[in-house]
């Protein structure tokens, strides 16, 4: 049996789920997309689940990886899929000068709309290191979206929350320190630190920090806590495909006790508010 992209064997309503039309009405922007390597294959899932736009975090690869062919392919992807795909580029506070050069190339003089602090950092330099200061200052000047990967992995001896992090992998506590130095710059704390009960509280006092919560299996009640502590204006949504499913990430929001208007903020409105100025500079028509 063949299926069109938009047909479903089981009526979503019979399962208490929104229809695809209702998902489309949510105007969902996926702020955490890892699909540039298989984009054509993933598009069918993006469309099937009614996602309006995806933002790749991998444009131009890592700071220290030179790969002109990859860069050419990424620029081509962004151009070809402009109506669906945007991109931000990775920086690394361990290499501030290279990071600044990459931002000039990919943001000021290129198609990207922001930066990502990656989870795979070569040196033991987290986002709160002074090396970040010129990076954040340039991002502010460019109006670039700032996304920071964070996790709090239990580990160490004795074990503690964060003791299992990779070298240089930032925590929400590191984001809080950075945010305190730049209170007028908005930044996204990615993955809610994984250990969301701690991550949400770590950034709570810093109004300039938004929370993104993709990248782990869903836990019932997690978005409710984030809403209670941070409010709906500080949450943005990510899909983390293709390694995570839209099922996984959508369920986190539909599990929470929210109105449709609140869901829309989380699914897209908040990110659009953040990204609209730089996107408009680059010629996108962005309706908040």
């Amino acid at each position: 049996m063949s299926h069109s992209d938009y047909s479903f064997t089981v009526d979503p309503a019979a399962l208490g789920l929104p229809s695809r039309d209702e998902l489309v009405d949510m105007r969902i922007w996926d702020s955490h997309y890892h699909g540039t390597g298989s984009h054509e294959e993933i598009v069918k899932y993006i469309k099937r689940m009614g996602i309006e736009r995806v933002i790749s975090l991998d444009i131009g690869g890592g700071v220290t990886s030179e790969d002109p062919e990859r860069d050419k392919r990424h620029r081509s992807l962004l151009k070809e899929w402009r109506k669906l795909l945007s991109g931000i580029t990775r920086i690394d506070p361990g290499y501030p000068h290279k990071s600044l050069k990459k931002m000039e190339r990919w943001i000021r003089n290129g198609p990207c709309i922001g930066i990502k602090y990656s989870g795979l950092i070569e040196l033991d330099v987290t986002c709160d290191h002074p090396n970040s200061d010129p990076i954040i200052e340039l991002a502010e000047e460019l109006g670039a979206v700032i996304y920071i990967h964070t996790w709090i992995k239990v580990g160490g001896n004795p074990r503690y929350a964060g003791g299992g992090n990779y070298t240089g992998e930032s925590t929400p506590m590191d984001v809080a320190k950075l945010a305190e130095r730049f209170p007028d710059v908005q930044m996204i704390c990615g993955h809610q630190g994984g250990d969301w009960e701690l991550g949400i509280r770590a950034i709570r006092p810093h109004e300039n920090v938004l929370l993104e919560f993709s990248g782990a299996l869903p836990t019932s009640g997690a978005v409710d806590l984030a809403v209670n502590e941070l409010g709906t204006d500080r949450l943005v949504w990510g899909g983390h495909g293709p390694s995570r499913s839209y099922a996984n990430e959508l369920s986190k929001v539909y599990d929470a006790d929210l109105s449709d208007e609140e869901r829309m903020k989380i699914f897209g409105t908040n990110y659009r508010r953040l990204a609209a100025p730089i996107m408009r500079e680059k010629g996108y028509s962005v309706k908040i």
Partner: protein, 310 residues
């Protein structure tokens, strides 16, 4: 207290009839964006094989109150939920855990909750616990937590337990994990279950019906391939992730779970409620393009068959 096991089985056999005996088109439909018909099966489409009651030891879960959880499951088309107890993770008086589970399943949900007690083969008198699950509480299966109950699948008593359960016609569920190990409380370190001994163990107990719960975070690569190829073990899809994960695991082209296809006949709905949102497992049916036969099997047909054949 005694629970009539036939009561649980009857409901399950109803499910089997609905999904295998009755025309499939009666419960499933082609649904496209222009179709605004009413839900076709308000009585519930899904047998959820992975639900718990009682208190998760480390957090007050949103739907930890059984009545609230039952309402939530019904709202989302679940008609039957195979239910264990979180008390099984750390309590030593296993029989008390099982008795309370059976009672709760009888008192709440009007037949929605089907109790799956636990047995710890590490502890004395476990055969009596198993007997009570079967004969006193009418449970159609048991749920094992080797990570929490602290044994490996190489334990000789584990194989013995499988034989005993098989002899009683009981399904055996093995919970691979409960939560992401990266987020565990620093004072506990619960390993995921290593399934590498399972194919060899099952060679000596070929007739037992075994299901893995929460398998796909840790059962991957060679381990997954050998379980697929060398056993008849079934898998719940609670933590089957990745874009289009369900259609891709059946096609053998999942993003990171290897190239060995898992046929729909071996996949089961499992929500891991109340720890995870029930919407997670249900959205998987929407994200993947499934044909009616596969959808019917995964949603309830396979579960109903398990209880019939165990």
């Amino acid at each position: 207290m005694s629970v009539n096991r036939r009561r649980f089985l009857k409901k399950s056999l109803w499910g089997m009839t609905a999904t295998l005996g009755a025309p499939v088109s009666g419960i499933l439909q082609k649904f496209d964006r222009s179709d605004d018909t009413e839900p076709v099966a308000p009585e519930g489409l899904v047998i959820d094989t992975n639900v718990h009651i009682s208190e998760w030891p480390f957090r007050d879960l949103k739907y930890s109150e059984t009545s609230a959880m039952v309402d939530k499951l019904r709202k989302h088309g679940i008609r039957e939920a195979w239910t264990g107890s979180y008390d099984a993770l750390f309590h030593k008086n296993i029989d008390s855990v099982n008795a309370r589970l059976a009672e709760a399943c009888q008192q709440e949900g009007e037949g929605l909750l089907v109790p799956f007690g636990t047995v710890n083969p590490r502890w004395p008198d476990w055969k009596e616990d198993l007997r009570r699950c079967d004969e006193a509480y009418g449970m159609p299966g048991i749920r094992l937590y080797p990570g929490y109950q602290n044994y490996t699948l190489e334990l000789p008593e584990f194989a013995e337990l499988l034989k005993e359960a098989s002899g009683r016609g009981m399904v055996v569920q093995i919970a691979i994990d409960q939560e992401d190990e990266r987020m565990q409380h620093p004072r506990v370190e619960i390993p995921a279950v290593d399934v590498s001994p399972l194919p060899a163990v099952l060679e000596s107990v070929p007739d037992v019906t075994v299901q893995l719960l929460n398998p796909f975070r840790h059962v991957r690569g060679d381990n997954l391939e050998s379980v697929i190829k060398e056993t008849d073990v079934l898998f719940d899809i609670s933590n089957l992730d990745g874009n289009g994960g369900l259609e891709r695991i059946m096609a053998g082209n999942h993003w990171y779970l290897g190239s060995t296809p898992i046929p729909s006949a071996r996949l089961l709905m499992g929500s891991h409620v109340p720890f995870r949102p029930v919407e997670n497992v249900l959205f998987k049916l929407m994200e993947s393009a499934l044909d009616e036969e596969d959808a019917a099997a995964i949603m309830s047909g396979n579960a109903a068959r398990m209880l019939r054949t165990a």
